[in-house]
């Protein structure tokens, strides 16, 4: 696949093409109000940092009704749960940052793999075309390169777009992306070298990435049993901010809610920071204190997910948890402590 370019004066037409037959979502609003919203093709904004929350709720909403029943015995199928089906619709999402797209690709392997397919996730992602926008000026909170990603990362995207002066460069990454770009009338261009140059510059702005490779090779139980977790967790409030803002956190809780007319089975975001997350029906709790809960979150991101997903870390370096944690628990500091544990075991 070659690259393509959309000239500045053709941008609106390009976005019109994206919006043709689909809803076009792009980041709108500033700061904590920046979120993916339906956007008219002439109102796309390329000057944003990133959305306040990750885009995971597009595919995995915080609350999602999975199935429902009615209890009117005079009608068929009373008291029987009926699937509400997937809520998919044709979507073009423009402006996903590479860290967040990588996050979706990690969650994708949880919701679709050789053992399970989650139809609610699949129904949405199959009809979505994801166009990323590379970061030419990463934020101070960003550390994608340290986590094995890049401001020009391609994982999870159908097309990677990037600013090429006032024009927009496009690199299709999947057949779905190629089809979209060709249909848009964008002109082919050889931009491979340009991408390399821009990427090197963006990576450089993040400084020399810390080396966390020690964690990958370390013995799991040595990391698990290291005494640092007590101090690491000591100031944690056990709120759910880090998990709710994380682009890869995907844990959920299934709840039935009933009324006089029937009931709904819904899936809600859950958080491993909560005491309630692991408490058993007996009252026993295998993660009784915040030390175990904090350890779980970081071990999951930096050890368990890499073990299950061919070395890909469960943290993409988007920096949201670092910026949003009320007590500034910084996953980079935790990763360094884990690296030190690994070094002392070696």
């Amino acid at each position: 696949m070659s690259e393509y370019i959309v000239k500045e004066n053709a941008l609106v037409d390009f976005f019109k093409s994206l919006a043709s037959g689909r809803r076009l979502l792009t980041p709108q609003g500033l700061g904590d109000k920046c979120k993916l919203e339906e956007t008219p093709p002439d109102k796309v904004n390329l000057d944003f940092s990133n959305t306040h929350m990750s885009p995971k709720s597009l595919l995995f909403p915080q609350t999602e009704a999975l199935m429902a029943f009615h209890n009117d015995a005079s009608k068929p199928q009373a008291f029987v749960y009926q699937s509400l089906g997937d809520k998919g619709e044709p979507l073009a999402v423009f402006g996903i940052r590479p860290c967040d797209a990588k996050g979706l690709s990690i969650a994708n392997k949880v919701f679709q793999n050789d053992r399970f397919t989650d139809n609610y996730w699949k129904g949405k992602i199959d009809q979505a075309v994801l166009v990323g926008l590379a970061c030419d000026n990463p934020s101070p909170q960003c550390f994608c390169a340290a986590m094995g990603g890049s401001p020009f990362g391609e994982a999870g995207l159908d097309v990677l777009a990037f600013r090429q002066g006032k024009d927009l460069g496009l690199k299709p990454l999947t057949p779905k992306g190629e089809e979209l770009v060709k249909a848009s009338g964008a002109q082919t261009a050889n931009l491979a070298d340009a991408i390399k140059g821009l990427e090197a510059e963006a990576v450089k702005s993040q400084g020399v990435p810390p080396d966390y490779k020690g964690i990958d090779n370390a013995d799991l139980m040595a990391l698990f049993n290291d005494p640092h977790w007590l101090a690491t967790a000591e100031n944690c409030l056990n709120c759910g901010v880090c998990t709710f803002f994380c682009p890869t956190c995907h844990c959920f809780d299934i709840q039935d809610e009933t009324s006089e007319k029937g009931g709904v089975r819904m899936r809600n975001w859950d958080t491993c920071m909560s005491w309630l997350f692991t408490v058993h029906g007996t009252g026993h709790n295998p993660r009784p204190s915040k030390t175990e809960r904090v350890r779980q979150r970081f071990m999951h991101k930096l050890k368990y997910i890499p073990l299950k997903q061919d070395g890909v870390r469960g943290c993409t370096g988007c920096g949201r948890c670092v910026a949003m944690c009320p007590v500034n628990i910084d996953i980079r500091s935790v990763a360094l402590k884990m690296t030190q544990t690994a070094a002392s075991q070696a």
Binding site: L30, G31, D32, S49, H52, Q62, T63, N137, S139, P140, Q141, A231, E234, N235, L237, N238, C239, G240, V241, F244, F245, D253, Q255, E257, M266, N268, D270, T271, S274, W275, L276, V322, A323, M324, P326, V327, N328, I329, D330, R332, S333
Partner: protein
């Protein structure tokens, strides 16, 4: 010497003395955060660790949150509001007075980072806090001075008790707070119709994620199991249903009635910038009006909602 540096030095000095003398096994304070405009609650147990303690314009989380149920002797760094929370916890039997040592910091107010970002939208990579009445934020190709008065948290603007007068020691000169909090905003809100008030509060919490950062950052919310986490029976749904979300906020407000010291930790912790204190402020005013009570101002006052008085204004209780 800048006031913040002076206070930092005094905190470190005091912390070392307390640990050395055995008056405290741990000193809970703040260390510098890993990104600009943050601090992180920090537990110092050695002299070396004491040297990591700092004072800052961003020491916004209330450290009394770490006290309930703690065994052994503990010292905490406290602003006026935080000290009042700790004293409240003593009156509520959450920690023994004899086990608690308060290193009181006369506080000139903490900074609301959202207000800073509103004044300087470019990515901030560094903040300089050497001046007493302003900060300097720096980023790629800019350096902007911002007056502290213009970016104070709203609870700090109306704070009456900036100096923790009941602290075991003060590290810094006493400062005067506002003469009084007139609650003008809350009185205006209460003058509206019930429907308007409900509309106001519905709009206030429309972005709530139910992450419970407000609850978990709150020194009053020390229940072993919060009512929202109860499962037998389950009082509240787990979804983002607006009624469930409202129930959480209303009940938390009521549970905190007469106990809130307006430390603002809830609003600092909220990741979607909800003015959580609006609920608490209504209850604060209600309790003041009914029982002329403000929490955390003496070691032996009794919280009004644990009290019975024969001259109570309410008829139903007599």
């Amino acid at each position: 010497m800048p006031a913040l540096t002076d206070i930092t030095n005094k905190i470190r000095e005091s912390a070392k003395k307390l640990l050395a003398s055995g008056q405290a096994e741990v000193v809970i304070g703040y260390r510098q955060g890993t990104i600009p405009m943050t601090t992180s609650p920090f537990f110092a147990r050695t002299a070396d660790e004491c040297d990591l303690l700092v004072w800052s314009n961003f020491a916004r989380i209330n450290l009394a949150n770490y006290l309930p149920g703690r065994a052994g002797k503990v010292a905490m760094v406290a602003k006026g509001c935080d000290a009042r929370s700790a004293i409240g916890q003593v009156t509520e039997n959450q920690i023994l007075k004899d086990n608690l040592y308060i290193i009181g910091v006369p506080c000139t107010g903490m900074i609301d980072t959202n207000l800073v970002v509103a004044k300087e939208a470019r990515p901030i990579r560094e903040v300089v806090e050497t001046a007493d009445d302003s900060i300097t934020v720096k980023g790629q190709g800019f350096s902007t001075d911002i007056k502290k008065d213009e970016v104070l948290r709203r609870n700090c603007k109306t704070c009456v008790n900036r100096t923790p007068k009941l602290a075991n020691e003060l590290v810094g000169q006493e400062v005067n707070g506002a003469a009084a909090d007139d609650f003008a905003d809350i009185k205006a809100l209460l003058a509206k119709t019930p429907a308007e008030r409900m509309g106001y509060f519905k709009d206030l919490i429309k972005d709530c994620l139910r992450c419970y950062a407000c609850r978990n950052a709150c020194p009053l919310c020390y229940c072993p199991v919060c009512f929202v986490d109860e499962t037998r029976p389950q009082w509240l749904g787990k979804s983002t249903d607006p009624m469930d979300t409202m129930t959480f906020h209303l009940l938390r407000g009521l549970h905190c009635a007469g106990r809130c010291t307006s430390c603002g930790a809830c609003e600092t912790a909220c990741p979607v910038n909800i003015k959580v204190r609006e609920f608490n402020r209504v209850m604060e005013l209600t309790v003041q009006n009914n029982w002329n009570y403000e929490p955390g101002l003496s070691w032996d006052q009794k919280p009004p909602l644990t009290m019975f008085q024969t001259d109570d204004a309410a008829d139903f209780i007599k």
